[in-house]
Subunit: 674 residues, 2 copies
Amino acid sequence: MEVTRQNFKESLSTVYNAIEEADFLAIDGEFSGISDGPNVSALTNGLDTPEERYTKLKKHSMDFLLFQFGLCTFKYDEVASKYIIKTFNFYVFPKPFNRTSTDIKFICQSSSIDFLASQGFDFNKVFCHGIPYLNQEQEVQMREQYEERRSQSNGSGTNSYVSPNSKGPGSIPDEHREYIKRVVEKVESLFTTSEKTVDLEPCTGFQRKLIYQTLNWKFPKGIHVETLETDKKERYMQISKVDEEERKRREREKLEREQEELNDAVGFSRVIHAISKSGKLVVGHNMLLDVMHTIHQFYCALPEDLNDFKEVTQCVFPRLLDTKLMATTQPFKDLINNTSLAELQKQLKQSPFKTPNVVPAEGFPSYDTAQEQLHEAGYDAYITGLCFIAMANYLGSFLTPPKPHIPARSKLIEPFFNKLFLMRIIDIPYLNISGPDLQPRRDHVLYVTFPKEWRTSDLYQLFSAFGNIQVSWIDETSAFVCLSQTDQVQIAMNTSRYAESYRIQTYAEYIQGRQSVRQSQVIATQSWSEEGWVKPQHTSMAGTAASYRPSTGKRSSSPVQEEPAQSEHTDGWSVNPLSDKSSKKIKTDGCVQTYAGVVDSRTTEGWLKTQSASDFPRISPVQEEAANETNEAAGGAWELQPSANQSKKGRKVKKRKTDDSETVSTLFEVPQVW
Amino acid sequence: MEVTRQNFKESLSTVYNAIEEADFLAIDGEFSGISDGPNVSALTNGLDTPEERYTKLKKHSMDFLLFQFGLCTFKYDEVASKYIIKTFNFYVFPKPFNRTSTDIKFICQSSSIDFLASQGFDFNKVFCHGIPYLNQEQEVQMREQYEERRSQSNGSGTNSYVSPNSKGPGSIPDEHREYIKRVVEKVESLFTTSEKTVDLEPCTGFQRKLIYQTLNWKFPKGIHVETLETDKKERYMQISKVDEEERKRREREKLEREQEELNDAVGFSRVIHAISKSGKLVVGHNMLLDVMHTIHQFYCALPEDLNDFKEVTQCVFPRLLDTKLMATTQPFKDLINNTSLAELQKQLKQSPFKTPNVVPAEGFPSYDTAQEQLHEAGYDAYITGLCFIAMANYLGSFLTPPKPHIPARSKLIEPFFNKLFLMRIIDIPYLNISGPDLQPRRDHVLYVTFPKEWRTSDLYQLFSAFGNIQVSWIDETSAFVCLSQTDQVQIAMNTSRYAESYRIQTYAEYIQGRQSVRQSQVIATQSWSEEGWVKPQHTSMAGTAASYRPSTGKRSSSPVQEEPAQSEHTDGWSVNPLSDKSSKKIKTDGCVQTYAGVVDSRTTEGWLKTQSASDFPRISPVQEEAANETNEAAGGAWELQPSANQSKKGRKVKKRKTDDSETVSTLFEVPQVW
């Protein structure tokens, strides 16, 4: 269903119902661009920390506009054993609501626009009929404006025009005195004639303010004052003779009108609020940017700090699942070799996967997956949901007895909750929204600086003695080089000691250098915060987030959120500090992850990978494919695959009761390959 | 005529012909936004210097996209006594041409987009079918890329992959040796079979480079090597057995294909080049932003310095005329009270003006001015041309005998050449492209700083003892205040001496303060230029400009450009330094301008003006109207109206011969009111 400004209001209850009845939701966004950064390696270095990646995306991607939002709601019909779906394709545009509303500027990236154009995207629907929206702050501002105006016309308003030099509130400047006197005479004459209303000439905002003040004071009862607009958009005042009942009725009507205007202005944000309040599982494919844009546009400016972002995200989307992360994790990783959305969907039609039984709800058009409509947000959301179902149901085949249908609330999919795929980071597969991030050891990594003429081949030449290496460019004159063995690091450092054209640091030295730079920045920030500049911003952000935390009582379908086990889930993380060289294993969600070595035999093609990578920032599909390729190149850099002895540990985890039909003991029958 | 990517190539000769045969051209642009600045008073202060205004527009407007370019060519038919017009409406979009081309990012301002949407603008035509373009630098880059690739495939290329560690140019890295050996064997086998071509597997750019090098060396004759693309956009090489004649033919074809690709990429810029080379008079309405955007998009990044910008502009558009400047100058000023394009066009239909006799050329659709299609660039260009003709012909009524038709090359309109309307500057009507700008005295102006709670009414209150004042806001805490009499300045300064909440400086003090800031910046810049960083940029800009200076020999229709009088015209300027308080008169173009006092009786409405002004940056029509209003408010702040004794001086200017039909003596029969 296409939703624009023209049918938004009448569609809203349909949207609300669809969200309310759904088992889970799938979403997707289309943007006016991906990155305004200088180049892809600067935006997505393979050895970014999660903090660095978040900061880069925030800096280089948030000025684009999310202008198409796809929502597909999935409701499972137990009797018919099939999902009933409702797909919505919202066109979104920040049409300024009135003279005082923010005039949003957004960036368009010509490659992204050109790509969408080639897919038949209808820009007129966005720009001419897009649904407006407000974020939290703008909504509050608008509400305050209305209140201010109301109290002003009541005569009870704070006099914002009181000046340090004026003779007191409500005083009329000399030059306006004659004009106001004439207005008062006009209104007085209203009471001596049979006329019910008098229209004043169009006048300035300042004059209107003076008139409101004066009339409220002179005629506390018996008249109703209103500002109207002529055809030429000039504002004028109409004064009506009314009895007290009529006056109250008019006030009430005005209040209702204002509330409706406010709702219209909040516009599409109401859909996001409804998704948020529902607490339903929200599924997306490679969804970090979608989540960031959604929060940025419809909630609040993104916080500086990654942990604050995680907090806000958990309030807006209590349960997220990224199908790209799922597809690149065992048991799917070995079965799926291309995790771009289109390819994933194709592969999930084939054995061992089963095509989900899905039908559109009555009155909703059906999509034909054979006739691809990729990069229409609604369609992409739809097939993301299909991918999720196919993969979830496949997990059911590991149960005893196997189950053909795994519901969205199943414990089996919990390990994938709130982990958003991180593109092109070779040793951190995901951003963990509900806990600290993985900290892989990087003691086989070197930070190399060199003249800007150098190419990847020069780096291969330089390190030719050390076997296979992997190169991650940072900028024109620096790169990370991963050696295949940690003990080579010291040799490399030693041989480079007298080099003049290049310089080598260990990763630890590099991080230390960055941290000392950052610390001096933090000191500067703290001195600002003493001036009350930075701190309040953070406070207001947290306030915003808190006000949108759905009450936990409502989400009975979410066992994880309510059980004490949740704290165990979070605390179950053990974060390896870089100094701890004893362990490469990180416990997560009752499973144990092993991080395999970073280097593989194909790194001689590193040059090629870097080349093809340069196409990435241009369009989303290329982005996915290239990322896929890079993770391939990293040679299975990471797996959610416990080794034999570790999986035994996993089995020892004590049984916990859940409100799910599967018991924990059943859950851990999942074989070792997962 | 609508021109998109789909019909651009076939339309180009029609466009070239129309430009070639025209007497003058009218242009107009539509942009994706007007200003990304914080607010209108910061962008257009009423007392900006031309340098300040240029810098602000460059900073806050150039990131928007000029996406519709209107061109209307006017050719006078002497026999039928009417203009034949051809209107073109070009949709322009920077579609990336290939993988290496610049991925342009541009800003959209939602109010501007919303306004165009409300006018029925077709965004799909822009984004899906817009004509691509390259600026000078990009064109050169692309040409060099082609040449580089050509010389590489000839084997004569500079080896850009020579690394500091490699064993010499052309050497094959160990890991590729086996692969290259197999390729050579394949090509050798070609000579032993009847096959004519062999296709290699898709490979990397680096491998292709190695193959080109090796084959050129091993098989200097007898084969033709080409890189092709598969359906999946993978690049592979095809090697063909050819005799020498065939090889040369193929090379030639390839060269031609490349030239055509280059032309396609230069795209819409070719139209601007043609306009530029024609040297024809180019008419626009309030055209400063149109000119800046056109140069920025299709020629070069705008220079830092205003004088450099003037130089580039004169090269790209040797003769410009701004109808808004014309309409706000005598003899038109007294006859026209609203100079927004739509209103101007309406007023010029009425006496004493005559509606021009204009018909569309065969095959070109006609516009109905009654059924307004404003804000379609082609239509706006068309009515701008109509306005120019009506005003030019009106000047003919002052001749003895009166002339009903004044051609575009007439001396009568020369005073308006190359003067671009400056919006909302109260005492500098225009930016003078072909000479130094006017420097009005501002010794009645005060620079006031105050707490951010202050409103305009506070300033009125503060200066209430000094009669009428005019306020130009700079930012939240500062404004210029124009007093009605210069001798009040010292009194104001004296009374403010002990004020705590506010501070007053004279305009001269303010400028001095700014200059010392700027000087320290200049010193910094100079130290950069010693490092070869700033200077080369300027040099390349000047070079670009020079390469587009049309040869003067071709423009026989342009007497001003060819006569020695040109230098007199330029040197005729006398610029009043601020320290010279003796004169308010500035000589220009053989006329003498008097700058009337800045203050009028309506300044009590200054608050209102500031309010309405806040609507300005949002959309172009509002912009024009608001500007108009402001200039009204300034109370005829400036006029191109010589006083009685000065006009006598004007008459004394020695007669010069021109190739125009009117002699100079006739020209100066124009009465004193002009």
